[in-house]
């Protein structure tokens, strides 16, 4: 169980999060939606200590992790992996070295062991044959797959996906969606997915929370969201340019 309790976060003059509270049950696929700049990525990055909240509490399995030091976050980052918006492969390393890096760092494997394990992970996402290519030599969709393989190497219990299907073609996006669903169903992995992709949301989400004006506007099942009477929610999910939403 992951809990965000009354999270506040300010950047300069602007208070992005103004008391966000959210509970993510174990093994669910929780989507977080909202307009650009609403603070979705800021919220999920706080779970792994990449951004620290100004106030509020974050609990992982009942244990408070809000004020852990950078070093104390190391074991949390083993449990909770993150796939970033830009795929974030390290340009100076081959695809194989990118996937092997967390194994060398978190599990202290030597180069050969880590490479063997990483090759297996790349094959899982159908990238085994391209293991020795450099990130610049493959397209966005393939880079994203490698980033997912890298995140999965440590067998995390929680996966955070920040806009996983942005800039992907529909086929590649469906692959990623299927993978997220499979992780939840077959391995019980809890996934928190930041996304604008309505097709993904309504096909694989268990729950959806919408951030609006720094707070959770709605949190419920996909059906509850689809039938919500809140005009702000309806405007967002129907993608209407005119309506009550203030951008």
């Amino acid at each position: 169980m992951i809990e965000f309790q009354d999270i506040h976060k300010r950047f300069g003059e602007r208070e992005i999060l103004q008391g966000v509270s959210l509970r993510v049950p174990e093994g669910t696929v929780q989507f977080i939606i909202g307009a650009s700049g609403a603070g979705k990525s800021v919220l999920v990055k706080q779970l792994v200590g990449l951004i620290r909240p100004d106030s509020g509490r974050i609990l992982l399995d009942g244990e408070e992790i809000t004020h852990l030091s950078e070093r104390d976050f190391y074991p949390i980052r083993k449990k909770c992996a993150m796939v970033f918006q830009h795929a974030t492969l390290f340009d100076s390393m081959s695809l194989l070295e990118n996937v092997a890096l967390p194994l060398r760092k978190h599990r202290n494997m030597n180069d050969a062991e880590a490479a063997g394990h990483a090759q297996g992970m790349l094959e899982l996402v159908q990238m085994g044959e391209m293991a020795h290519r450099m990130p610049a030599d493959v397209g966005d969709g393939l880079r994203k797959r490698v980033a997912i393989a890298r995140a999965l190497t440590l067998e995390p219990r929680v996966m955070i996906f920040d806009e996983p299907t942005t800039a992907l073609d529909p086929m590649a996006a469906s692959h990623v969606d299927a993978l997220i669903r499979r992780l939840a169903e077959e391995q019980g992995v809890t996934s928190i997915v930041v996304s604008h992709d309505l097709r993904s949301i309504f096909s694989i989400a268990d729950r959806v929370a919408m951030i609006y004006q720094g707070r959770i506007r709605v949190d419920g099942t996909t059906d509850a969201i689809r039938h919500s009477e809140d005009p702000v929610v309806q405007q967002f999910i129907q993608g209407q340019p005119e309506g009550p939403m203030e951008l």
Partner: protein, 266 residues
């Protein structure tokens, strides 16, 4: 009431804002320096990455530094000998004077400014683009300290490589001057090559300057890169900030080291 909008910053606030920024930047740079030194002292650096940086900062800058200082040697001796010819046509000290100036001032400062421009901007652009594309966050997710991975190798490579570049640059510049003096004013090589005006404190000053510039530039440039935000515009701004801050640091350190050595010697 003076009828002005109360939210408009007062004159003193406007005056203080850049000063506040400068103090904050200096504090952040010193914090980064402290973290880097602590990491160097407590953890083994990535040797492969250090070697790569030695090559990038040193070998890759060699042609740039060599040509710049060679041309500077030619121009300096041409100007110097032209003036000498008008006042007292005695060229016996031309080489000795130029060498002393090169060792304690020109060599390290010009090399420092060149490395600040070439390497400082490259470091800021590399680190800045890693920040805005979340690669630095991804490093942290892999339990890799960005300071250890990105800053330490550049810091360790910067000092020795700037010293090496300065030594080579001084030699090339001195040779360029020697050829100019010989061709333009028929100064014999044996007269030009005169080490009597280079004292031990000149050498100490030159070495101190080279090392301090070499260690300062990677820290200042990495700080600019790490504080980048936004997209490509943020990386561009970080690169500009790096070149300005590194060049300014070279000038300030030059002044501090020169005055300190003179105070000690005299």
């Amino acid at each position: 009431m003076n009828g002005k909008d109360s939210s408009e910053p007062m004159f003193i606030e406007r005056l203080g804002a850049p000063l506040g920024d400068l103090v904050r930047t200096l504090r952040e740079i010193f914090v980064l320096l402290g973290r880097t030194v602590r990491t160097v002292a407590s953890e083994r650096a990535d040797r492969r990455e250090v070697v790569r940086q030695l090559f990038d900062i040193g070998v890759e800058s060699l042609l740039f530094i060599g040509v710049t200082l060679g041309v500077l040697g030619v121009i300096s001796l041409y100007q110097g000998c032209t003036q000498l010819e008008r006042v007292l046509p005695d060229f016996s000290r031309a080489g000795a004077t130029y060498l002393a100036t090169l060792v304690r001032e020109f060599g390290p400062v010009i090399c420092g400014l060149m490395v600040a421009t070439r390497t400082g901007s490259a470091i800021a652009a590399q680190v800045g683009s890693m920040v805005v594309t979340e690669q630095v966050d991804a490093l942290r997710m892999c339990n890799t300290d960005p300071v250890r991975y990105l800053v330490v190798p550049r810091f360790l490579a910067g000092g020795p490589m700037l010293l090496m570049l300065t030594i080579i640059g001084v030699c090339i510049s001195f040779l360029g001057g020697m050829l100019t003096a010989r061709i333009g004013w028929e100064v014999p090589y044996s007269t030009y090559v005169n080490l009597t005006m280079v004292h031990s404190h000149d050498v100490v000053m030159g070495v101190l300057k080279s090392l301090s510039f070499g260690y300062a530039i990677p820290i200042i440039a990495a700080h600019a890169g790490l504080s980048a935000h936004g997209g490509s515009e943020g990386v561009g701004a970080a690169t500009t900030r790096s070149v300005v801050n590194c060049s300014f640091a070279v000038i300030v350190l030059d002044f501090v080291i020169s005055s300190s050595v003179y105070l000690v010697v005299n």
